[in-house]
């Protein structure tokens, strides 16, 4: 029996939730679901709370099915999932900090987003005022001589988001890396509560700026599913054009930046020029370089004109003409390959256990792609491959990006060919106003991997609750594993090859 079938048999499905079942379960079934995930029979997608219940979204990869188990937190407690399934640990620490719920038998009870600076504890639960002097934080130990610690951040040496990295090193070799994140926690879950739809859409578009299209799309699709409406066909195609332009821009930037971290600035300079052309083309086509606020519930905010489409076609031709030369240089420069091949290896077992999405998972043998495996329009009518490799090193993550750029260019071309005439949006206000209490969960493929959005609609066209899980949640912990045994000097190139979002994670 599939995970979903078992869940449905043992729990009570929530009528208001779409399109996949959300099933209210008791403690024992919750515990069994956690064991299923821990044993690798299903993949944990996200674990979050709304204050009253905890929700565990799980993917059954064989069946391509998503299901959500929900447990009412009687007396403010729930059995820890992280106790048997480490990928859940940081989710639980965030739930504890924000809502004041207790994860029973949790193995790691240190705070996560709460650095003791808010002046309030459990801001989304029974909030209590407290001092804002900062909480002490104990990093995990590493033992044995002659280890030394290297603290890095939160303010880093480059133009990078803030986070703290604590290295334990034996000479040059990293024995343990531990991340401390949360510095850019903006309280988006709290700001979403009761927000009017328009404000909530803007917030979703600013969870992680580099994925603004993907996250806005996940959020818009969730709102539409909850309200029982669909964006018109032209909007569906335009959304894919934007999503793929975003993917191409980010992959070009990363390809260059990874080479730059190996002091190979030639590719960086050329990729920087290509990326700039993508952003200018996006601006000309959709009116914003990053296409922020262009995907909205009901459709898209801006139509694509003839000139814009011609621009995009010219851009595709230009990239196809110029990228192969850069790829050849990457492939034939031994000093560059020396830095990327066998560096920062992520083992396939770990990628599978953590359900790593995007290039992180695909470079380590987990060829999951929402666009193909939990398909949503318009990808059901497009042809594309999902590249996968097994080496799991920096080099493999570079190649996945290169191969995905090629696929995305083809997808955009197909979209332009299939672009139907018609409206670019429908009005959703009345449908949303009529759908108070309705909910939906959606998955969308961003450039980093699968983005999950859960929405519960409120009264009068507002959002009651929303949760957004950036792919970085499940990739950050893997960076700690990938760097082990590498030299400290290779951390930047490993970090860039993962390119996790701090803002998307800190929320």
């Amino acid at each position: 029996m599939s995970y979903r079938a078992t869940l449905l048999e043992l729990g009570t499905p929530v009528e208001a939730h779409r399109p996949w079942p959300r099933v209210v379960v008791d403690r024992e079934v919750w515990w069994r679901a956690a064991l299923e995930v821990a044993q690798g029979h299903a993949t944990l997608l996200a674990l979050w709370s709304d204050g009253r219940e905890v929700h565990m979204a799980v993917l059954d990869e064989a069946a391509g099915e998503v299901s959500i188990a929900s447990l009412a937190c009687t007396n403010g407690r729930f059995p820890s999932v992280g106790r048997t399934h480490p990928p859940a640990v940081r989710f639980e620490r965030a739930i504890v900090d924000l809502y004041g719920l207790i994860a029973e038998d949790a193995t790691d009870t240190r705070p996560w987003p709460d650095h003791g600076r808010w002046g309030v504890r459990h801001p989304l639960g029974a909030a209590q005022a407290c001092a804002a002097e900062g909480l002490p934080y104990t990093f995990l130990p590493a033992e044995g001589p002659p280890l030394h610690q290297i603290p890095v951040g939160p303010v880093h040496a480059g133009i990078i988001e803030p986070g703290h990295f604590r290295f334990h090193a034996n000479g040059e070799t990293v024995v343990r890396l531990e991340e401390r994140l949360g510095y850019v926690h903006k309280g988006i879950e709290g700001l979403m509560r009761g927000a009017p739809l328009a404000r909530a859409v803007q917030l979703a578009g600013r969870v992680s700026g580099d994925s603004t299209v993907a996250i806005a799309l996940a959020f818009a699709r969730a709102v539409e599913a909850a309200a029982g409406v669909e964006a018109p066909p032209r909007a569906q195609i335009l959304r894919a054009v934007m999503a793929e332009l975003e993917r191409v821009a980010n992959h070009l930037g990363d390809f260059g930046a990874i080479c730059n971290d190996a002091s190979f600035s030639l590719i960086h300079a050329h990729c920087g020029a290509l990326r700039e052309q993508v952003l200018r083309c996006s601006n000309a086509a959709f009116g914003h370089r990053l296409m922020m606020d262009r995907v909205v519930p009901g459709g898209v905010a801006r139509d694509l004109g003839e000139a814009g489409a011609a621009n995009i076609r010219a851009l595709i031709a230009y990239i196809r003409q110029h990228l192969p030369e850069l790829v050849r240089i990457y492939d034939r420069t031994a000093s560059l390959q020396d830095r990327t091949v066998t560096t920062g290896i992520l083992k396939p077992d770990l990628a599978r256990q953590y359900g790593a999405g995007g290039y992180v998972g695909r470079a380590s043998g987990r060829a999951f792609d929402t666009r193909r495996d939990v398909v949503y329009p318009p990808y059901d009518m497009l042809r594309f491959d999902v590249p996968a490799r097994t080496a799991g090193d920096v080099d493999a993550r570079v190649w996945i990006r290169i191969e995905e750029i090629t696929q995305s260019l083809s997808i955009i071309e197909q979209c332009l060919e299939k672009l139907p005439e018609g409206a670019i949006a429908i009005s959703v206000e009345s449908a949303i106003a009529d759908a108070a209490g309705k909910e939906a969960t959606m998955l969308v493929e961003g450039f980093r991997g699968d983005v999950l959005a859960w929405v519960r609609l409120g009264a009068g066209g507002t959002i009651a609750n929303a949760y957004i899980r950036d792919p970085s949640w499940l990739q950050w912990p893997l960076l700690e594993a990938a760097i082990e045994g590498n030299i400290v000097a290779d951390f930047p190139i490993c970090n860039k090859s993962f390119n996790c979002s701090y803002s998307g994670h800190d929320l």
Partner: protein
């Protein structure tokens, strides 16, 4: 590689002329610099970027300043790794409470004379983020000399602001 070299010989550079001035930013600078005539050494500025809670869109556009189209360094502006080497702090984000101390310490580590530029609507106090986790603007934490608005500000807007800052700061000495 050979093809790239030949193209380099035959094609014109991608780098574009400097953008025109933005009047609002010039006015703000004139006022700030009158109030405090601080000296700069030479006609170049070193910039330390601090993300104080941005969604990373501002960082993407700040990164773009270094691409060949904008080529920030030709104006004598460059990014440095340490606040000890910086003349300018370029701060983004609404200043999350978790980043407040780091921003203050970075400011204090920057030697005088120094300037602070708030880049992006969040940093300028007109962004989306209030609530328990955010202070809401850079100005509420450290004094700001120039605001560059936008969500995110375009590289052109960033360039206008930074070049104007450098020229006016030098002229004020």
């Amino acid at each position: 590689m050979r093809r790239l070299l030949i193209e380099g010989l035959l094609k014109t550079p991608l780098t574009e002329a400097r953008p025109g001035d933005d009047d609002a930013m010039l006015a703000e600078l004139a006022e700030r610099l009158q109030k405090s005539a601080r000296r700069v050494l030479g006609h170049s500025l070193s910039i330390r970027q601090v993300d104080a809670g941005s969604c990373n869109a501002c960082e993407l556009e700040i990164h773009a300043l270094s691409n060949v189209y904008y080529d920030l360094e030709r104006f004598g502006l460059r990014f440095v790794a340490s606040p000890r080497h910086a003349d300018v702090l370029l701060v983004t984000g609404p200043v999350t409470k978790n980043m407040r101390e780091a921003l203050e310490r970075t400011y204090n580590a920057t030697p005088n004379p120094k300037w602070v530029v708030a880049a992006g609507d969040c940093a300028c106090g007109s962004g989306f983020f209030g609530g328990y986790a955010n202070i809401g603007s850079v100005e509420a934490v450290v004094p700001v000399d120039l605001h560059i608005r936008g969500c995110p500000p375009t590289p052109t807007a960033l360039l206008q602001g930074l070049v104007a800052l450098m020229e006016r700061a030098a002229a004020a000495t």
